[in-house]
Amino acid sequence: MESKSLIDGNKSLKDVTDDIATLVETPPGLKWLAMLIGAKTVFVFYIFIIGIITFTGMGLMGVNHPIGWGTDIVTFVFWVGIGHAGTLISAVLYLFRQKWRTSIARSAEAMTVFAVATAGIFPIIHTGRPWLAYWLFPYPNQRGPLWVNFRSPLVWDVFAISTYATVSVVFWYVGMVPDMATLRDRATGIRRHIYGALSLGWRGRARDWSHYEIVYLILAGLSMPLVLSVHSIVSFDFAVSQLPGWHTTIFPPYFVAGAIFSGFAMVITLMTLVRIAIPRFKDYITINHMELMNKIIMTTGMIVGYAYASEFFIAWYSGSVYEGYAFVNRAVGPYWWAYWTMVTCNVLVPQIFWIKAMRRSIPVMFVVSIFVNIGMWFERYVITVTSLHRDFLPANWGMFKMTFYDFGVLIGSFGMFFTLFLLYIRTIPAIAIAEMKPMLSEINHQEDNHG
């Protein structure tokens, strides 16, 4: 895609700075305040719910024998998956020189950081004794020393998620250092000190830029295998066990595709809202950007659909009675409604994007993105709950019932995510200023050459 179609309006370098920086320099409007108060209320509710669960115990939640992994793990996988699209946009599309990523990369990366932060809370609640969560890390201690078991996928997960969170934050921050310097040079008073500290005293000398660009490329290069490894490792939590429905080799690619799928849906949800809340960003986050993301949603949706079909085929083809039963039970057993919600939302609904007018319609894509988010939560629900609820022995069969507290943490986590995102959008330039400008100069060159 040509750069020309990616920035609307005849912008000068100064316009770009002004358009993006003004947002963090002016007092917020009522719309934003209303959204923040809404999100914040849910967030406070979430904190209370977690507090009650922590002080009373895990018995408040629906997990029990045989379903030992419930809402916490389902929602953990959901949020980690959301994060993946951010890294895909900021790192992988960067490596593939996809220029359209520039205007959404900063917000997508922010989404990654907040989604991983939100996700990280769930395994900690799930341990039941969150005050001992540091036991998950190997460190010299006075209990032997007692070390973690490196053969356990759960320990791999601790390493994967914490590395992913760290590298994502660093990548995000390195990307915004030059923009912080821009804000510093425009600000006065206390804001000048804060942005000055955050900019680390960046000056933008040619030698600095030369190192900076290389390190940015390196971080993108490191993030790509990292993001693929993270959801593969999350899928190992399931696949390395012996349980029918979990013990399959398709899980790593299937999980990664699902993660990208759900993450892009969340990017569409957020960008639609950003375009409504900040009309002048429509020149940077154009309908062309949205259309490209919708194409990715449709593609990954079909990959996920293929994985669903392939699982069924292999369950039958393997000749394993238990494996076969697990899948038939998913589709027509007591949890049929969860399975068919998942298939409808993830495979059928995105097919509407074959029609160009639908791909370019903001209301349509918003609704589809919500469907995909619901569908992907149900996918993790189906994988976790339906596999656990009937294993080898009928004596071990049971049903999962979500309690008030299950719904509380699920809904509450959205409050945390949206509070963080709303605060971010008013304090940090939501579009990478220093990355937009080279594109602008390229557009000017193109115009010069075409006369």
Binding site: V177, G201, W202, R203, A206, P225, F236, P438
Partner: protein, 173 residues
């Protein structure tokens, strides 16, 4: 790093700064630097800056992470706290690969960024802001007075030849 004094000219077009940087390089200047709001394509060639050496650091850092991961998983599982888990060998290398991989990435990423900050002498307390527009839409060229070819009058006239907008005398840059 020692502070430097000198002259900085300001331009408002990307193509002018590229030309003027090239001119100073061709005149034999060594201690000069362009200051731009974004990475300008072709600036390295114009200023005669060599390709960054940081990738070598990344490679060494990644290797270090890999070796640390190998050593740590082995030492913990086979030496310090050997426990028989399902009859698996004490040093179960394939099962340790995910952890070793993550440590490789972590070391490489963090050390590269640390090196970047060191190479750009960051964090820098209260840097001199010559012109606040230099991080927005203007382009500067700083000539250090320690450059053997530095001569204030000649530098200024060279800058004027290229349509400089303004020349600042900079101290402690």
């Amino acid at each position: 790093m020692a502070k430097s004094n000198g002259l900085m000219g300001i331009w408002d077009q990307e193509k002018d700064i590229l030309k003027v940087a090239e001119t100073f390089k061709n005149q034999g200047f060594k201690k000069f630097d362009a200051v731009t709001p974004y990475p300008v394509h072709g600036m390295e060639e114009a200023c005669g800056i060599e390709r960054s050496w940081i990738p070598y650091v990344t490679f060494v850092a990644g290797t270090l992470g890999l070796l640390f991961g190998l050593w740590f998983t082995w030492w913990v599982s086979a030496v310090d706290w050997p426990i028989n888990v399902g009859g698996k060998p004490m040093w179960s290398l394939p099962a340790f690969v995910p952890v070793i991989f993550e440590l490789t990435i972590l070391f490489a990423a963090l050390i590269s960024v640390g090196t970047l900050f060191a190479a750009c002498s960051l964090p820098k307390h209260d840097p001199v802001v010559v012109d606040p527009d230099l991080t927005s839409h203007k382009f500067g060229l700083f000539i250090d007075e320690k450059d053997p070819k530095f001569d204030a009058i000649q530098v200024e006239s060279l800058m004027h030849d290229h349509g400089v907008e303004k020349i600042h005398k900079v101290e402690g840059y």
